[in-house]
């Protein structure tokens, strides 16, 4: 469709190399400042390359901070448990909706779809979760509110079932006397592995990155996830950023994690995602394409 235009191709590649660098350079700043000594940071500021090299920040993180270790464990467990429950709920809800024989299918579909159009917002939700369910400072707060099941993924999953699972297979299994649960877990789900992987990834990423639930419902530092720790440390940077005088007070500085340590925690928070990304990017791109166009 285009002539073999070498110059044009070179220009295109240059533009994309620029875009790729623009996407990555900010991470470089994060990583290199976590590897720079405090004195150098104070003198020369943050940069894309470490002016000197020290692992002091990471030593601090691994040796002296129980908080960060626990936060890490919480994030991993919450992500694993949350993703499992969420995918299960999503699949169990999507499968019946894909069955044309189900009476009341349209009503339930509408109940689901309506939640994408209208919602009560933060105030009633916050009051309900805290006053009715007493979720404050419990791990349920990290697992349940707004994260557990989203209409978006249910609809994605249902469309996949409708388009890819031939009704004949289900019929045949039922004639053989299989129960619906067996049909779903023995026949439908094994045929839907790619879509389940995609949805599990997107849900998992949401759990890993979630900081709003911690912000709303968790005040107890013992129950902080990695994102909640980052959130709290951000406050401290904020404190310093707005009060330059405080920096002069050295006793204050000793109690707060240093500038490099904070960047180090941010690196530790994103590293698992960045490390795993090459392996899941294929599923992820597919999820974006499927979900983005017909959500």
């Amino acid at each position: 469709m285009v002539k073999k235009n070498i110059v044009g191709q070179v220009i295109l590649n240059i533009i994309f190399i620029f875009l790729a660098v623009a996407a990555l350079a900010p991470f470089l700043l994060l990583v290199s400042s976590s590897l720079t000594s405090e004195a150098t940071l104070a003198k020369y500021g943050y940069n894309f390359y470490p002016r000197d090299f020290t692992l002091a920040a990471y030593e601090y993180i691994f040796k002296s901070s129980k908080l960060i270790f626990r936060a890490y464990a919480i994030t991993i467990i919450v992500t694993a448990v949350g993703t499992t429950i969420s995918v299960l709920t999503t699949v169990l809800f999507a499968y019946p909706l894909s069955r044309k024989e189900l009476p009341g299918r349209m009503v339930v579909s509408f109940i689901l779809f309506f939640t994408m159009l209208f919602n009560g917002g933060l105030v009633p939700s916050y009051i309900m979760w805290t006053q009715m369910f007493h979720i404050k400072n419990t791990y349920f707060a990290l697992l349940i509110p707004s994260l557990l099941m989203s209409a978006f993924y249910v609809i994605m999953m249902r469309s996949y079932f409708t388009a890819n699972i031939p009704n004949e297979i289900i019929e045949a299994a039922r004639v053989d006397g299989a129960r619906e649960f067996m049909v779903l877990f023995r026949i439908v789900l094994p045929l839907s592995k790619p879509m389940i992987a995609t949805i599990a990834l997107m849900i998992g990423l949401r759990y890993w990155n979630d900081w709003t639930n911690s912000l709303y419902y968790i005040t107890d530092a013992d129950k902080f996830s990695v994102q909640a720790v980052l959130n709290t440390m951000l406050n401290n940077i904020n404190f310093l950023a707005q009060n330059p005088d405080v920096i002069a007070d050295s006793s204050m500085m000793k109690e707060l994690p240093s500038t490099a340590v904070r960047m180090g925690v941010a690196v530790v928070g994103v590293l698992p995602i960045l490390a795993a990304y090459p392996f899941f990017q294929k599923h992820f791109v597919k999820g974006i394409v499927v979900g983005g166009i017909k959500g």
């Binding site: 009633p124 099941m149 791109v285």
Partner: protein, 311 residues
């Protein structure tokens, strides 16, 4: 015959029962997580107190008291203006950038480099706004930020970004585009590669050059996707990326005139000002207007082009 029919009926009933059993967890969740809070919106018309809860609290007298209180201050105008203005800017610039990138990607040859670019430009989408706030701080911090170091090196004067309003609209736009451009260009790219290549060949035979091909083949082919995506964004125009506007400016209240959106205000009023009245009034407006917008935009689109409508 009759017996068999009865057996079928019984089997159908059991099937229905089993299928509904599967949906119980999801239905329960929708009721609790989504529908109770919808009912809870009445809180905007109540004199809320925590002992009596949302439904037990007395009605506000006058009923719209929370709203008049909200609109008495400049806050209401600011947060609605900011939310709408930022969203419209984001939608327009976001689509232009994404479509441009998708088209360029389509004209590029070679599969390996293409795949690498696609993979890399998605990375900003993967990280949380908190981490973005750290990165932005690395650039903008008054004492140690890269931007200020460069300004000083060039002989300029340091800018205290976190207390200067001027730059924030630009900063938000840059961050929003940086974080989202990979995501949206991949959605457009998926549509672009779906366009029949025979159309390009036909256009080329008619003597169309590349820009003409883009104009007459690519863009019409993208029309439905553009409408769908813009429609979805317009439906969410009352909502903002809470993390972007709350965390990235480091919660600085000095610049809240240009950084506070409805979501930030609702959160701040609810938690730090303990002002449930104004918070719930703002949230109510957000929910209702947001809902009316999705429905009406969708109605308009249905009139123009039924295929592109969401529902």
């Amino acid at each position: 015959m009759q017996k068999r029919k009865n057996k079928n009926k019984a089997a159908h009933r059991i099937m229905t029962l089993e299928l509904y059993l599967m949906m119980i967890p999801g239905l329960l969740y929708l009721i609790i997580n989504n529908y109770i809070p919808m009912g809870g919106l009445v809180i905007a018309f109540k004199q809320f107190n925590y002992q009596q809860g949302i439904f037990g609290s007395a009605w506000k007298d006058p009923l719209i008291g929370n709203f008049t209180y909200l609109f008495k201050t400049q806050d209401a105008v600011n947060i609605i203006r900011n939310t709408l203005a930022y969203n419209i800017t984001f939608i327009v610039l976001g689509q232009i950038l994404a479509i441009t990138i998708a088209i360029m990607l389509n004209f590029m040859r070679g599969t390996k480099n293409k795949k690498i670019y696609q993979t890399v430009i998605l990375i900003p989408y993967l990280i949380s706004m908190i981490v973005v706030a750290y990165i932005v701080f690395g650039f903008l911090s008054t004492e140690t930020g890269l931007v200020n170091k460069m300004i000083v090196a060039a002989g300029g004067k340091k800018i205290n970004f976190y207390s200067t309003k001027t730059y924030w609209p630009l900063i938000f736009i840059v961050i929003h585009l940086w974080k989202g451009f990979g995501y949206s260009s991949i959605i457009y790219y998926a549509t672009v590669i779906g366009i029949d290549s025979a159309l390009y060949e036909a256009a080329a035979i008619d003597g169309a050059n590349v820009p003409q091909q883009i104009w007459h083949v690519t863009l019409p082919g993208l029309k439905n996707t553009i409408i769908t995506l813009v429609l979805m964004s317009l439906g969410g125009i009352m909502y903002s990326d809470f993390g972007l506007f709350y965390q990235v400016p480091m919660r600085s209240t000095i610049i809240s005139d240009v950084t506070d959106t409805i979501d930030v205000f609702v959160f701040r009023a609810l938690t730090s000002m303990n002002d449930v009245g104004r918070s719930s009034a703002a949230g109510f407006i957000q929910s209702i207007v947001g809902f009316l917008l999705v429905v009406s935009v969708n109605l308009i689109v249905r009139k123009i082009d039924k295929e592109s409508a969401l529902f």
